[in-house]
């Protein structure tokens, strides 16, 4: 059946902010769906609160609502847009849960909205673990013995019946939040309580644990004619017990015989049919007992997922895109395989390479957490690598992670593990951690047997034997020595995935020497193609990966080309925002007639969709891999008459920026701002001199490579000071200190042997920056563009809600600035223009300022895309990254204005507020206060007619629901008490009752603000206990502001209790004031739901354009 003509408008729900367990894979799937549905002629209405996504670009939908994802807002959108259908399966768990809520609230029925893709019943059967198990048993599939509990008592009873070890899974959660394994009743009580609390319906499933079994996932697609195919089989290297999102996984499955695989395939088909997913993709997880092959079904996701994004990138079969086509009526055989163009999508991809995915964690950013992996997902991103063999893909994946490792061994990072003895290594390997694979390798190198390592890790012997082969190869290479390498030896080494830098380390020679000797031996990388069919048919899509074989498949380059370097794995500080910028560059340069080439290794992203650029190289972002791609393209240009115009390094965050000078040294031109200017902005001394010359004030400061030097700087500039290492993103290891002792400790942690030694330690080349910290200053972020003629365009000036000292990535901010006056704004603009000129920026420049008492200081400047670029673009309607890309290839702002590419920012009618989303729910042991170290994983945007309303929306979108009335609990640090008084007064005026800790209460009462109860702090006998009060539900909003080390620790229990009991909690007075303003605005006007297209159109009208 061809496309359905009876529906016209389709509503899509996005997945909201990037959180652990739900990242930009849903931007990839949602973007594909939007594209497909519009190509098919449907009107697409999109709701997603996350501005940092491609899908929320106004050109991807007919109406784009960047609004909170809740039933109330969705209802307003449905009322406005009257969609015929809702496609709920492309926005992750968030979209599925919202769909169920909309159904239960009767909204879908009321407006006659048809669900396409999956029916309510199918969603509920798949999501409700009890119903799911019953359904599986009905069709004869095995499931682990289990029971469902709603209370702790019920849970204890079931545990006795099922027996230990057992696993607890809360219903209706994403990424395994609240899940845990218990080996005995004591452990069980804690795990069960946490599970009950995590489930929105207070329901947990308790089941037999199959920890240690082999884990598989099948990505399955079905159309309405009941054609079903497996797109990809994924095998987890980590056995059951580690969440699949935290497991190293490979595709295809490696250790299943065809008999077992086909049994699993039959089971998957029976499962998708029984659950009743009408059309689209599903992910079905299986566990297999390694002893006897017993197979059980673990779970099924009736939607596209992180694994389906991985499967799409791993095979070239675009699951989300095809799911969208199937949802509107096509059958698989009516959809073309994009890659071969001749064969239909009704087939099962087969591959001739191995794909390895490795998660990336951020434990180092979350003090208080233990890096132990379990059934709850904790990783914040992932990398994928493709190689012809498992080892090649594994080593490529390891160096893609950017955790300082170049592969599995043979690098300076192996030293700490080599210092351990065998028994220590074996013991360490028994605990799943981010380092486990390295520990296993080190143990094998110390002659641990494969059997022993299998016993302690549960990792299949085939994988372990592969690691052992690498160990043996390393010994062999070491024996042969650098001088003894034959061409065949070089090829063998490279085929195992060894980077030149690893070989250089092994032999103690320079990487450049290794590269020179290798290429002299004629051993160079060859690029193969991901083609869905193992070369059975010709591929039309140049989606490549590097390997060391005979034949290279890179087609001649016939046009001018631009290489765009992506940002690698998502991590805290470098996320989807940068992918957004890279994708925009690809679009903008393609429109300008360039052939675009993307290099990236993150499978979750839009940038690694083969549709985004003309050529895709799925490769690690190391200098060796990137220079090799550039060399190959240069050679392809010599054949075809095209030319590589240059490399874009300034849109993917710090990852590609670090490669700028290496690329330039290798003869590959960097587009836009020169590497010299990039260095100038990073070099503290030279940058200081520049600011001085331009007359831009800076907070006093200095650089220091030792603790003593730092103390000397501090004695000159005075405390408090901000200490941070140079060359890091996301405020890694940044700290505000108040005295010499703290400063010495902070410097100690930054040294190589300190707790933050991973950052590279301290040296004259990599000193720490020590700056006077401006307390109570307002922080301002500016994104600006400059072209090669010298014209500067201020893209947006953002005023931070939280004061300076809170990392800009964790702070809320607003456009236009709500409190800065025209004079201050003029100063900021003038400084920005002067800096852009002095740095000879071509493209984007981000500058951060601090403003206090109308005085403006510059904090730092970065001649690259910043995290705020997508937010500014959404708020103003000016696609900054696209314009930047065009400026980098030599066009001017005037030219872009003349051809209509650049329009004036839409402003005046609306305010946009960006709020950060933090992973505290996932890590209850971490204090929720904000500081100079960034910890947010994602962001949301609220937009409305006033700052107050936009702020309320941003809070709602971030999951911090501000109350309309009730009681506010205030506990303020002394320094905050003056401003806190203002906030308190406003809450009282709005009809709120106040409760406060003793000191805060005394201050409020002395100023005539009534306090209805005094709350006891930790250790205080008098007053109501803070935690009891929060737990009792009598508090509707908590404002708790910490300062310095002491009070920070003291307020932690208050903040933790708020988090646990879902009470909105604000940790700065500034945000408290904004909240009061928001609540007031909301009492005056109901928030509206309006599309970005409407805001931008009105903004243009207001400007008379």
């Amino acid at each position: 059946m061809p496309r359905r003509d009876d529906i016209h408008t389709i509503l899509l729900i996005g997945s909201g902010p990037i959180v652990i367990g739900q990242a930009c894979e849903f931007d990839y799937s949602g973007t594909q769906a939007c594209r497909v549905l519009r190509e098919e002629g449907y009107r697409v209405v999109l709701v997603n609160s996350n501005p940092a996504t491609i899908m929320t670009d106004p050109e991807f939908a007919d109406a784009t609502y960047v609004e909170p994802l809740d039933v109330e807002t969705l209802r307003r959108v449905i009322e406005n847009e009257r969609p015929d259908a809702l496609l709920p399966t492309l926005g992750g768990q968030t979209a599925l849960n919202l769909t169920i809520e909309l159904h239960e609230a009767g909204v879908l029925d009321e407006f006659g909205v048809e669900l396409i893709g999956a029916r309510i019943d199918a969603i509920q059967t798949a999501e409700d673990r009890r119903r799911f198990k019953a359904a599986m048993q009905e069709i004869g599939l095995s499931v682990p013995a289990s029971g469902t509990a709603y209370t702790l008592e019920e849970a204890m009873e079931i545990a006795e019946q099922v027996g230990f070890p057992l696993i607890v899974r809360p219903s209706f959660i994403l990424g395994g939040g609240g899940t845990g394994i218990a080996h005995d009743p004591d452990e069980f009580e804690g795990v069960a309580s946490r599970g009950l609390a995590a489930s929105p319906v207070s329901e947990i499933l308790i089941e037999r644990s199959v920890e240690g079994w082999k884990e598989y996932e099948l990505e399955v697609m079905r159309d309405h004619a009941d054609n079903v195919v497996v797109v990809c089989a994924i095998e987890n290297v980590d056995a059951m017990g580690v969440h699949t999102g935290d497991s190293i996984t490979v595709a295809p499955a490696q250790t299943l015989t065809d008999v077992e695989y086909q049994t699993m395939r039959d089971a998957a088909f029976a499962c998708i049919r029984r659950i009743g997913v009408d059309t689209g993709g599903s992910n079905i997880q299986f566990a297999v007992n390694p002893i006897d092959g017993e197979m059980i079904v673990i779970e099924m996701n009736p939607r596209v997922s992180r694994s389906s994004a991985l499967a799409s990138k791993a095979t070239g079969f675009p699951i989300a895109k095809i799911a969208a086509k199937l949802a509107v009526g096509y059958t698989l055989d009516e959809v073309r395989n994009d890659i071969t163009r001749e064969t239909p999508a009704s087939f099962e991809p087969t591959i001739d390479y191995v794909v390895t995915k490795i998660p990336r964690w951020a434990f180092e950013k979350l003090p208080g957490t233990t890096p132990v992996l379990g059934t709850m997902m904790q990783s914040v991103g992932e990398v994928m690598a493709i190689g012809r063999t498992f080892l090649e893909s594994l080593q490529k994946a390891l160096r893609s992670l950017e955790t300082g490792r170049m592969g599995l061994n043979c690098d300076p990072g192996e030293a700490p593990l080599d210092a351990l003895d065998l028994e220590e290594l074996v013991r360490a390997s028994a605990v799943p951690t981010p380092d486990r694979l390295f520990e296993v390798e080190a143990a094998l190198r110390k002659f641990a047997s494969v059997e022993r390592m299998h016993d302690v890790t549960g990792i299949d012997p085939w994988f372990l034997d592969q690691l052992l082969q690498l160990v043996e190869a390393r010994e062999e290479l070491s024996r042969i020595g650098f001088a003894g390498m034959s061409a065949r030896d070089w090829r063998d080494a490279k085929q195992l995935g060894f980077a030149d830098s690893q070989l250089a380390y092994l032999w103690g020679v320079a990487e450049a020497e290794v590269r020179a000797a290798r290429t002299a031996a004629g051993v160079r990388v060859t690029y193969k193609t991901v083609d869905t069919c193992a070369a059975e048919f010709a591929a039309r899509t140049p989606y490549h990966y590097g390997t060391y074989e005979d034949e290279d498949e890179v087609a001649p380059l016939t046009r001018p080309a631009v290489v765009i370097l992506g940002s690698g794995p998502n991590r805290i500080g470098q996320g989807v925002e940068f992918d957004y910028c890279c994708v925009h560059a690809a679009f903008a340069l393609s429109e300008a007639g360039y052939e675009t080439v993307m290099v990236n290794c993150n499978p979750e992203t839009v940038s690694t969709d083969y549709d985004t650029s003309d050529r895709l190289f799925f490769e690690p972002l190391t200098s060796e891999d990137v220079i090799a791609v550039c060399d190959a393209l240069t050679a392809a240009g010599q054949v075809g008459g095209g030319r590589v115009e240059g490399v874009v390094v300034s849109l993917g965050g710090q990852t590609p920026l670090k490669l700028a000078s290496l690329l330039a040294d290798a003869g590959h031109g960097v587009l836009g701002t020169s590497p010299a200017s990039i260095d100038l902005a990073e070099d503290r001394d030279r940058f200081n001199q520049l600011c001085e010359r331009l007359g831009i004030p800076q907070p006093p400061g200095g650089i220091a490579a030792t603790a003593e030097a730092a103390v000397e700087v501090a004695s000159r500039i005075g405390y408090p000071v901000l200490v941070r290492p140079s060359y890091v993103l996301g405020g890694r290891a940044m700290e505000i200190v108040y005295d010499d002792t703290e400063l010495r400790r902070a410097m100690g942690e930054l040294t190589v042997t300190g707790s933050l030694g991973r950052e590279g330690g301290l040296s004259a080349e990599r000193p720490a920056l020590v700056d006077r910290f401006l307390e109570d200053a307002t922080e301002v972020d500016v994104d600006a563009l400059r072209d090669s003629t010298g014209e500067v365009l201020i893209g947006g000036i953002m005023e931070h809600i939280e004061e300076a000292g809170v990392h800009s990535g964790d702070s809320a901010c607003a456009i236009p600035p709500p409190t800065l006056d025209a004079g201050v704004l003029a100063t900021i603009e003038a400084h920005t223009i002067a800096l852009a000129g002095a740095l000879e920026v071509v493209g984007l420049l981000n500058v951060q300022y601090a403003v206090r008492d109308r005085q403006v200081w510059i904090i730092e400047a970065n001649p690259r895309a910043s995290r705020t670029v997508p937010f500014v673009s959404k708020a103003t309607g000016v696609p900054l990254a696209k314009i930047a890309a065009r400026l980098m290839v030599g066009e001017s702002l005037a030219e872009l204005r003349a051809n209509g590419y650049l329009r004036e920012p839409a402003s005046g009618g609306h305010v946009a507020v960006k709020e950060a989303v933090l992973p505290f729910q996932r890590f209850p042991q971490v204090d929720t206060i904000l500081g100079p170290e960034m910890r947010s994983t994602g962001e949301v945007m609220g937009v409305d007619r006033s700052f107050g309303l936009a702020f309320v929306k941003s809070q709602a979108a971030a999951g911090n629901r501000l109350p309309e009335g009730g009681t506010v609990f205030l506990s303020l640090a002394d320094r905050d008490k003056r401003l806190g008084l203002l906030a308190a007064r406003r809450f009282v005026e709005l009809g709120f009752a106040l409760v406060a800790t003793a000191g805060t209460a005394a201050m409020l009462e002395s100023d005539g603000v009534p306090v209805s109860a005094v709350v006891a702090k930790v250790g205080e006998a008098e007053g109501v206990d803070a935690i009891d009060l929060i737990a009792s539900g009598k508090v509707d909003l908590v404002i708790n502001t910490p300062r310095g080390r002491g009070p920070r620790a003291d307020g932690a229990h208050i903040r933790r209790a708020s988090l646990q009991h879902g009470v909105a909690c604000i940790t700065t007075v500034a945000a408290g004031l904004a909240a009061a303003q928001g609540i007031e605005a909301r009492l005056e006007h109901r928030p509206e739901a309006r599309s970005l297209q409407e805001y931008h159109r009105d903004g243009q009208l207001r400007l008379g354009l």
Binding site: A225, T255, T257, P344, F537
Partner: protein, 363 residues
């Protein structure tokens, strides 16, 4: 690293360098028609499938041998292929069912293998050049090239006669609902398993069995098996099947399908590089449904040549080739692909049920 260098030379002079694995050919040369198979799993079934007689099979998936070999998954008693080419041969198998590694299996069964070559380059070459003879081993390139050129390929060769059983034998319970005579042109164990599961007591007979001998046995139906080589060369069987058609229900698979169609008067032709894999989409015309199929054939039936009364029941969605034919008037049907799987998907196993139904209607 200590491996014995070896190379593959195709008849057109293309050379691929790798190293020797499996058994050592005494002459240092293994020659045969080089084809590729794109299945991701099921190498044990593939190397024991008699349909590969005369061929050198190239696996496109790089890691082969990961789960070793076991006693249950053989498709015949002895491998009939000439040799195996792959990227990487696992040295340590891992499976609870494994009884040996693949390398050990090769040595026991005197199968030579070549590992470490750029199999993707080879596949792309075969895709463009077509399946051509080649030779691999430790011999020098000139010797290998000569051996490759001396190999006649499969055209015009009745390879079924080389792999068929010498004596008839029985499979399945004697009290099964139906008694079926199965022509063995190189029959796979999975087919016998499926026939038995569908309710057949099967007598497997040599490829040269005359029609009269079959009719004398009074079977409820006749099954025509898969097998190697050029169908048009199996002329004795084509004549025999011609005499059987219309006498009793007939079901053919792969070579059996081609033989049935030839007996009906159709023609066959050689495909450029054939279909060898486990992911080929086939449309069942009756329902419009797509089934993912296991395939292994170098020849196909020419659609134009099908006689009146025969209809195409299944079509290959990749290239439009005929995948199935039914001749209702003569109670026979056949498919080009492998509904028995082994290896591959189970989507088309219903065909064994249809054979059962056809016999029930006839009785």
């Amino acid at each position: 690293m200590n491996r014995e260098a070896a190379q593959l030379v195709l008849a057109d002079g293309e050379v691929f360098e790798g190293y020797l694995a499996g058994a050592r050919a005494e002459s240092g040369v293994v020659a045969g028609e080089v084809v590729f198979n794109t299945a991701l799993s099921g190498y044990q079934e593939i190397v024991t499938d008699p349909s590969y007689a005369g061929q050198i099979i190239t696996f496109t998936y790089p890691h082969i041998g990961n789960y070793g070999v076991n006693v249950d998954d053989d498709e015949s008693a002895t491998p009939r292929l000439r040799g195996v080419v792959m990227r990487d041969l696992a040295r340590r198998p891992s499976s609870w069912r494994a009884t040996d590694g693949l390398d050990g299996f090769f040595r026991r069964n005197h199968v030579s293998a070549l590992a470490g070559i750029d199999t993707r380059r080879l596949t792309r070459h075969l895709r463009d050049a077509g399946a051509i003879p080649g030779a691999f081993g430790t011999a020098d390139a000139a010797t290998l090239l000569a051996a490759a050129r001396a190999d006649g390929g499969t055209d015009g060769r009745d390879l079924a006669n080389e792999v068929t059983t010498r004596e008839p034998y029985l499979v399945g319970p004697a009290d099964a609902p139906f008694y079926v005579v199965a022509y063995d042109f190189g029959i796979k164990t999975s087919i016998l398993r499926q026939l038995v599961a569908a309710g057949c007591h099967v007598e497997v007979v040599p490829a040269s069995t005359p029609a009269a001998d079959v009719i004398a046995r009074e079977p409820d139906g006749v099954f025509l098996s898969n097998g190697p080589g050029d169908p048009s060369a199996v002329d004795g069987a084509i004549r025999a099947v011609g005499d059987l058609l219309g006498e009793m229900p007939v079901f053919g698979i792969c070579l059996g399908h081609q033989i049935m169609c030839l007996a009906l008067g159709a023609r066959t032709f050689k495909l450029r590089f054939g279909h060898h894999g486990a992911n080929h989409p086939v449309r069942r015309i009756e329902t419009g449904r797509v089934e993912i199929t296991s395939q292994n054939h170098n020849y196909a039936v020419d659609a134009e040549s099908l006689p009146e009364g025969s209809v195409v029941s299944h079509l290959n969605l990749n290239d439009g080739d005929i995948e199935g034919v039914q001749t209702p008037g003569r109670r026979c049907f056949s498919v080009q692909y492998h509904p028995e799987a082994g290896p591959g998907p189970h989507d088309a196993r219903y065909l064994f049920g249809e054979f059962f139904d056809l016999m029930r209607e006839a009785s």
